[in-house]
Symmetry: C2
Subunit: 442 residues, 2 copies
């Protein structure tokens, strides 16, 4: 089965993918319920001001340093560090990666294909999509393979939004579609999650009401960063009531981690729905790169002109097919990650911290102070946690790592929360992430 945790699960991805590093925080931790932030996103990316050669620094100067003795040495250490963290140092629960990596059979499949690396092996792509289609009962022509799901996500938004056809998203939600909308020149309508202190799910009716002619309505199920699911009833409502030219983009990057109903049947029924799948999360193949766009062939053809012509890495094709054929893999990994998540959420609750009721491999925890400060303080302990959303500035996204990693997280989190973090600011983004933040995470 190969569902082991590696001895050293540490990896990189810079800890600070902050949209709002230059912004001013709102006093409230969680926004009030409603549809009050349906304005254009002026700059959904907002990282362009960074110098790539600058490092970790305190915004508040020496007096802040003096009040945080536990951070001083680490601060200095980080200041010496290049703009990427050493992926071999520290615990990285910041990018919704799966610390288990590819399953054993997938690893072997990758190793076995290496000698054939000189060949394009285009047939493997068709073999993979046929395999997935057969398992899911889909027409193979409704399945297009991509090197992860970021590309079809981006291309779907580019294809179906424009200056007159906005993008509708949940807030907080995954930012990649907003990046694409900005390129398409489309307005972004952010609709707050409903019941933010409770179920924190997509407010589907408000999302449908947000525009009379949306180009794309993006539903990430379960949602990133909250890990919360949108009910089948709500998704059915969206499919039934969206304007006829609107594309429903249902991102199921994390769907294997929960029991929520899948949305592939809408594709089988010929609806205006594109479903995204990835091998980056449950399958542990974020760095291997494989995903699917599932939709009517005419829709897949439309999005493919933006890309989708590129030959795919044969290592990824081999690992993905092998992973699909491991009968118990999804169930076993869902339980491992689910158990670790439940233990972590229970501990946080026992410590008095509110977190979203995640069914995924990430959740948002309300730290009751600027999340970026806590993120920076944790980073100084080589505990790298995921980012902050402007809508919930006092919450931090935490990825579910290995049981050991999460025990270390508890210790570091306790230490940080027992200290002042005032004025701490995370390190700036690397060049690569400053140019293209967020969008690599699916």
């Amino acid at each position: 089965m190969g569902c082991h945790f590696p001895v050293s699960g540490a990896s990189n991805v810079h800890p600070s993918r902050l949209k709002d590093i230059h912004g001013n925080y709102q006093p409230s931790t969680i926004p009030s319920k409603g549809v009050n932030s349906m304005q254009t996103s002026e700059d959904p990316i907002g990282c362009s001001g960074f110098s790539r050669r600058t490092f970790f620094r305190y915004a508040a100067g020496a007096s802040a340093v003096a009040s945080m003795p536990i951070l001083t040495e680490a601060h200095l250490a980080l200041a010496q560090r290049p703009h990427f963290n050493d992926p071999n140092i520290g615990i990285h629960i910041d990018a919704n990666e799966n610390p288990m990596g590819p399953c054993d059979a997938a690893r072997q499949a990758m190793i076995d294909i290496v000698p054939r690396g000189g060949r394009y092996l285009m047939d493997m792509e068709e073999d993979l999509t046929n395999t997935f289609a057969k398992i899911e009962g889909l027409d193979p022509e409704s399945v297009a393979a991509y090197a992860g799901s970021s590309e079809p996500l981006h291309y779907t938004v580019l294809t179906f939004t424009d200056k007159s056809k906005p993008l509708v998203v949940a807030d907080p939600g995954y930012e990649a579609p907003m990046w694409a909308a900005k390129i398409a020149g489309a307005e972004v309508l952010k609709v707050p999650l409903s019941d933010p202190k409770g179920e924190a799910s997509h407010n589907i009716k408000a999302m449908l009401a947000a525009s009379s002619n949306p180009g794309v309505i993006y539903i990430c199920n379960p949602n990133n960063p909250t890990g919360t699911c949108t009910s089948r009833t709500d998704i059915e409502y969206a499919v039934a009531n969206a304007p006829k030219d609107t594309m429903l983009l249902i991102d199921e990057a994390y769907i294997h981690l929960c029991d929520a109903p899948r949305s592939l049947d809408f594709v089988k029924d010929g609806k205006n729905v594109i479903v995204l799948r990835t091998f980056s999360k449950l399958y542990g193949m974020a760095g291997v790169r494989m995903g699917f766009a599932v939709g009517r062939p005419d829709l897949l053809k439309k999005i493919s002109v933006h890309g989708g012509f590129n030959a795919l890495p044969i290592t990824a094709l081999a690992a993905a097919k092998t992973s699909l054929l491991q009968a118990d893999l999804v169930t076993a990994r869902k339980k491992i990650i689910g158990d670790t998540r439940a233990q972590t959420l229970a501990w946080l609750k026992s410590e008095g911290y509110a977190a979203t009721p995640s069914e995924s491999n990430c959740f948002m925890v309300d730290v009751r102070r600027p999340g970026k400060e806590v993120q920076a303080a944790l980073a100084s302990k080589e505990m790298f946690v995921g980012r902050i959303w402007p809508a919930w500035p006092n919450s931090l996204r935490i990825t579910v790592g290995t049981p050991d990693e999460m025990m270390t997280f508890r210790k570091s989190f306790t230490e940080v929360m027992n200290s002042s973090t005032a004025g701490l600011t995370p390190a700036p983004l690397s060049r690569r992430l400053a140019e293209h933040p967020f969008t690599h995470l699916s």
Copy 2:
């Protein structure tokens, strides 16, 4: 060094990537010198009419079959075959792949990174581009990594051509930029290679004269399919004389295979030049997927909005960096492929066949009858050779395989050329290649 030939170098990629399978051939084998075909390419792809479920067939019916007894059994065998050839059967010298595959050190690097497949490892991308930049004396911000060079090729044409700014290409030349121009709505101006029976190089002055405001002038050096180089003097002329808003796209996918001067210095000098590099050819990583766009940072930023945000496969990042650090790899492989090419070209000449004076891993041979027939006849012997260009319908592109493969090619080629091939038609394209032909080959 790892420059061995594998025991079994066979692989797939369908043998028939014919643009003109439904077209009527011109009577002349080689077009006359000049700039006489500078019309819009109505359908540079031209494969949309295929049924994905049809197989190898004779266009001329039973009488043609009767005259070709050597093909009958093979015809039947092929008719049973699914639409992709079995990559483990036959000799594949049809896709300009390198039968040596990745070098040993690169293979080991790929195997070593497999356990970390669950991580995005974005730092590896920056490490790779920094390594390449250092070796080549470039500003690291002038280098962008992609999963092969097809994407930056496509994106450069999408960015700099439009309805009023045509694409200028050499003919015969690599078709991928024409595909992108079609999507961009740009006119395609095809300029015949100069001295087609001699040096068959880009007619740079005619290419510059083809349009007063070209969006992109595409120079593949060495050229695909002819393997011929364009002189430094001509490329310098193009850089000096192109309109100031024109992008020169210099595709150096095959540059490592020849001694021609490289064009990276134009980037260092801040010219309107984007140079493409790939690991698919000399480095033997076609299925691994890694390449570079090299250009001024402002140009790279412009093309990146179409894509370029996706995380890259860590297997490819590891293999590419390792390959760059193998000091003698380029020289050794250039000699191996060059020797095999020289032997094959000398044999063809001794047999009375004209071929282009290639300095690359492919060449065009004039078969003095419709090339598609010879291609089909060779395919029936499980000898898969590269495709035909409409401008030279009686020529076939041959990729330089291993010495053993090329000896088998000689035998099969002799048998085919001693037989009638009248009416033979290659198998149709697979779904994948019918949708996106050609563009995966860099």
